[in-house]
Amino acid sequence: MHSQWTWQANRVLCLTLLNKCTSGRVNSLRPNPANGHALMTLKTADIDLAGPVASEARPAPRRRAGILARESRSAYAFVTPAFCLLAFLVAYPFVLSVWFSLSDARVGTAGNFVGLGNFERLFSSSIFLQTLQNSFVFTAAALTCKIVFGMALALLLFRVTRFKRLIRGAVLLPFIVPTALSTLVWWWMFEPLYSVVNWTLKSVRLVDHDLPWLPDPYLAMFVVILVNVWRGLPFFAITLLAGLVAIPRELYEAAEADGAGPVRRFWHITLPLVTPVLGVVILFSAIFTLSDFNIVYVLTKGGPMNMTHLFATYSFTLGLQGGEIGLGAAVSLFLFPILLAVVFLQLRLMRKAAIYE
């Protein structure tokens, strides 16, 4: 009874809408017997309309094919400029990079095919093995710090009520300022003679002599990681904060009513619900941390004794400064498998999210 009335009301509404859209050509509307009341077939004076909702009126198959073809033609027209740019300046260079890595190309010469010769040379070079190790240490350490402190900062920012914009703005600033320029100030802060860090450590009597921050391999690695964390932390904090805001309040109220303390609320509500966002942030950051160039190049240029080289800086040193383009391209291609893994995981995460929606 009730549904009959609803359908009647719907019919009136649909007819009104359709007539508005089709300038009064629709004159009857009947339920489609195959689909019950939800779907309906529309009989009109000159066109056949069939669809779940009247406002999404669809043309007959023959015309639909024509419209779809026209639709895709205009879609291709829209997409073409971006497609050409990406094909010519991303896809083609990538293929070129693979070719370089398999050749003995140098600056000014095309080079000959040498198979996997470059990779063999790399794996027998202690500098490259050191670079491999550095990349792993750098990425693992920087990511861990960013995850832990980023989460802590996000939780704190979530509870900030006064000066909210000011504090969020201040915290996000390192991410916005040009990295190459902000790294200069870190260099100055760790400068051997006039380091403000050493000055502070000495005045609170933590050390009695200047620490050789950048000339010492291990300290240099520490500084490079520190600067990367300084720059990357805001991205984690702000994105995780957005994830925290999206968690429904009711869950916390229910857990609190059931007697769960703050720690248990974090482990059983916050962490599981923020995990998808955290996953995406980690994947993003993994690729951009691993491929970092600016910080290492400005602070240490890969030194001392090649102890802070990452793939990007080593590839730069070999390919551009040393002129061995083939070898340099081979080094930079080590980023690619990790890129693929990240893309694969990201797409899986996004599909999952799409299913949940």
Partner: protein, 294 residues
């Protein structure tokens, strides 16, 4: 009886005071080191740029503030002895052009991806996503040959052409998410009224998506202003360098570091971005999170 009342009053007063102080201790105090960590280097950059050389290179003086009088000599050195304002102009030209190109191409590519079904739409979407994640450091060597082959090396065109390689995927991705939030129905009405796709996009969707476009443009501008690697590799004459590369490579000559001037350059180089940031903070936040959340 009155004792009990007095006691409970003391308790409520204490509880109230605790409630007032609690966020101070559990939120604002712990957030302080994070804020200090974020801001100190930038503060130190500013302070250093106004310090006189004698104070700068005095091991005994307190480095945290200026005690010997502020000076603008570092800024003067920058203006007088380096093509600093030329670098600034170069950065501006490159960033604005790259931003305009990228936003236009991004809008054009994002629209069909968000709204239309066409054969290959899914794979193009995935391709855009992959290129979005490709770091510039993976491609700078082959791009050098492409730039040489196009005859663009040592011109600003090299940067205007190559920056969109990472900006277009970013803008497309961001705008795609944004376009999807605009209801389809308004456009459908427009098209029933006889608009074609282009008209419907220009007249209906774009006005509704202005915040998304501002956001994409801001990020594109920031990313190109901050770019370092391509600018370092593709352009070598001193007067054609951009801000980031110029300050870094021209102010360090051998072992002589002009720390005051370096910091002055870093300050001025950061200012346009910081100004944009102060005015459009919310756009930055939404752009940052939309990439990861949507």
């Amino acid at each position: 009886m009155s004792d009990a009342i007095a006691l409970s009053r003391v308790r409520t007063v204490r509880a109230r005071r605790w409630r007032a102080i609690r966020p101070l201790l559990t939120v604002y105090l712990p957030v302080l080191p994070f804020v200090a960590f974020a801001l100190f280097p930038l503060y130190f950059m500013l302070v250093t740029s106004f310090k006189s050389n004698s104070e700068l290179y005095d091991v005994g003086s307190v480095p945290f503030w200026i005690s010997d009088g502020a000076t603008i000599s570092h800024y003067q050195l920058l203006s007088a002895e380096t093509p600093f304002w030329q670098w600034f102009a170069n950065s501006l030209i490159v960033s604005v052009s790259a931003t305009v190109i990228s936003v236009v191409l991004g809008v054009l590519a994002a629209y069909p991806l968000a709204r239309m079904r066409f054969p290959g739409s899914d794979s193009f979407g995935v391709a855009v996503f992959i290129t979005y994640l490709v770091p510039p450091t993976l491609l700078f060597l082959p791009l050098t040959s492409v730039v040489n082959w196009l005859g663009l090396s040592d011109t600003l065109w090299a940067l205007i052409v190559t920056y969109p390689t990472f900006l277009v995927p970013f803008c497309t991705w961001l705008l795609m998410g944004y376009f999807r939030t605009v209801p389809k129905e308004i456009e459908e009405c427009a098209m029933l009224d006889g608009c074609n796709r282009l008209q419907s996009m220009l007249r209906i969707l774009l006005p509704a998506a202005v915040p998304g476009i501002i956001c994409a443009a801001l990020f594109a501008f920031t990313l190109s202003w901050n770019e370092f690697l391509y600018a370092l590799v593709f352009v070598s004459p001193a007067e054609l360098k951009t801000m980031t590369v110029g300050v870094f490579s021209e102010l360090i000559r051998g072992d002589i570091y002009y720390w005051g001037a370096l910091m002055a350059g870093a300050c001025i180089g950061s200012i346009p971005i910081v100004i944009a940031y102060v005015f459009f903070l919310d756009y930055y936040v939404s752009g940052l999170t939309s990439g990861a959340i949507k």
